[in-house]
């Protein structure tokens, strides 16, 4: 499997996903190259407190995505509360205040569908625990564009509805529990050079 082709990872989650993200963030090495972009259903008035919190939990740089900002490797981006986050083809973000999608803003579908167009087969989409079915259309869009789709194992999820809905589309490539997901992510995110020297060693 050619693992170093991926240009971005998009993650969607709702209820219970903070704990899962926290676990990822602890284990991701400083050398992790692939930008991670996260749409999480947050309280509409959350003013970046979450970003501040996660900043202290990882070796990578964590920030809130800004409109028209260039997406860079080594960063973890969160969608701002109460905005949809979209990916442009020139590797920048756009925000929108369009109506809620699946009762959510940010909506996972909106992020995933735009990312699928921008990165096609160089994209990984991950659906974590959550209590509604936002993200299912996004997963289908990623698969349609030949990206890689992963869902957290519903039996390993605090709230199985969201990953189960994604799996029920029939478009999920891999179902993993959180510990396995950690390992896969670490492998994917290493740049070619690091991986080469690792193999040689």
């Amino acid at each position: 499997m050619k693992t170093n082709k991926y240009k971005a990872i998009v993650i969607g989650g709702s209820a219970g996903s903070m704990e899962v993200l926290l676990k990822f963030f602890h284990v991701l090495p400083k050398t992790f190259r692939v930008p991670i972009i996260i749409a999480c259903h947050l309280h509409p008035l959350d003013n970046g407190g979450l970003v501040e919190f996660f900043r202290l939990q990882t070796n990578l740089r964590v920030k809130e995505a800004e409109d028209k900002e260039q997406i860079r490797s080594g960063y973890i981006y969160f969608s701002p509360a109460n905005y949809h986050l979209l990916i442009e083809q020139d590797n920048t973000f756009s925000l929108s205040v369009d109506p809620k999608v699946n009762y959510a803003r940010p909506s996972i579908d909106v992020l995933f569908e735009s990312a699928a167009v921008a990165w096609a087969d160089e994209l990984i989409g991950i659906i974590l625990t959550g209590a509604n079915s936002d993200g299912t259309a996004g997963i289908c869009a990623i698969k349609l564009n030949q990206g890689l789709t992963i869902a957290q194992d519903p039996s390993d999820s605090a709230y199985p509805v969201m990953p189960q809905a994604a799996i029920d589309t029939g478009k999920i490539d891999i179902i993993l529990c959180v510990d396995e997901l950690d390992m896969v992510l670490q492998y994917i995110g290493l740049d070619i050079k690091t991986k080469g020297s690792h193999n040689a060693g």
Partner: protein, 274 residues
Amino acid sequence: MKSGDIETIEIRLLLDTIFLRYGYDFRGYAKASIRRRILQFMKMSGTACISDMIPRLIHDESYFEKMVMEFSITVTEMFRDPSLFLTLRQKVLPLLKSHPFIKVWHAGCATGEEAYSLAILIHEEALDKRTTFFATDFNDNALKKAKAGILELECARQYSQNYQLSGGKGSFSDYYHARYGALAIKRGLKKKITFANHNLVTDQVFSETHLILCRNVMIYFDKALQERVIRLFYESLVHGGFLCLGMKESLLFSEYQDKFRVIDQKNKIFQKKA
């Protein structure tokens, strides 16, 4: 050719068609969100693919009008982001008090909720006698709604709460009549705003303006169009005039960044340097 690339061609042709046929220019809109809206309208109107909409757009004006409505749907509320309105009240309006004549421009006012909010602020700070207030949008349907000033009854509690958080000096209910299951903005307040059609993409400056509000509009534009609009605002403002953007908008990636000073970073209030 990948399906995504074909779709990109279709979108380009569609936007070119709209521009050539109707003069509305969406070509500088952020691609990802305009794509979403096009696909949504396509689904709604039961068309099989994007390019199938083109002949209909050319020959059926009502079809185009429906599409424009779909393209310009945004969500807003009275005193959206109360902290902005509180800051305007505390930091900006006092500075405007020294002017004998004040011109305010709310660009991209949509259905008018934030324009009415600002009008309430101006009234409560006793500036309304010398203020001329223009609220503009490119969408005539939205303007019609704005002029009517009818709000949904269900929102009353939320709006009232926002009003208090924004430093309201009276009661939000001072400004509307409740009737027929809706809230009607009082005539006195409505008279303070001139609603007019203006297109940020194709129209020109509003000269000698003291305060411009344009919130959550520019996020829908690509970088080049954003730059054009920021320039338009810069040229419309008097020296020392104020520009208010949305909470997640900035002048960060603009050449005009150095020509403004930051008055309030969190609420995105900027002042044109002299």
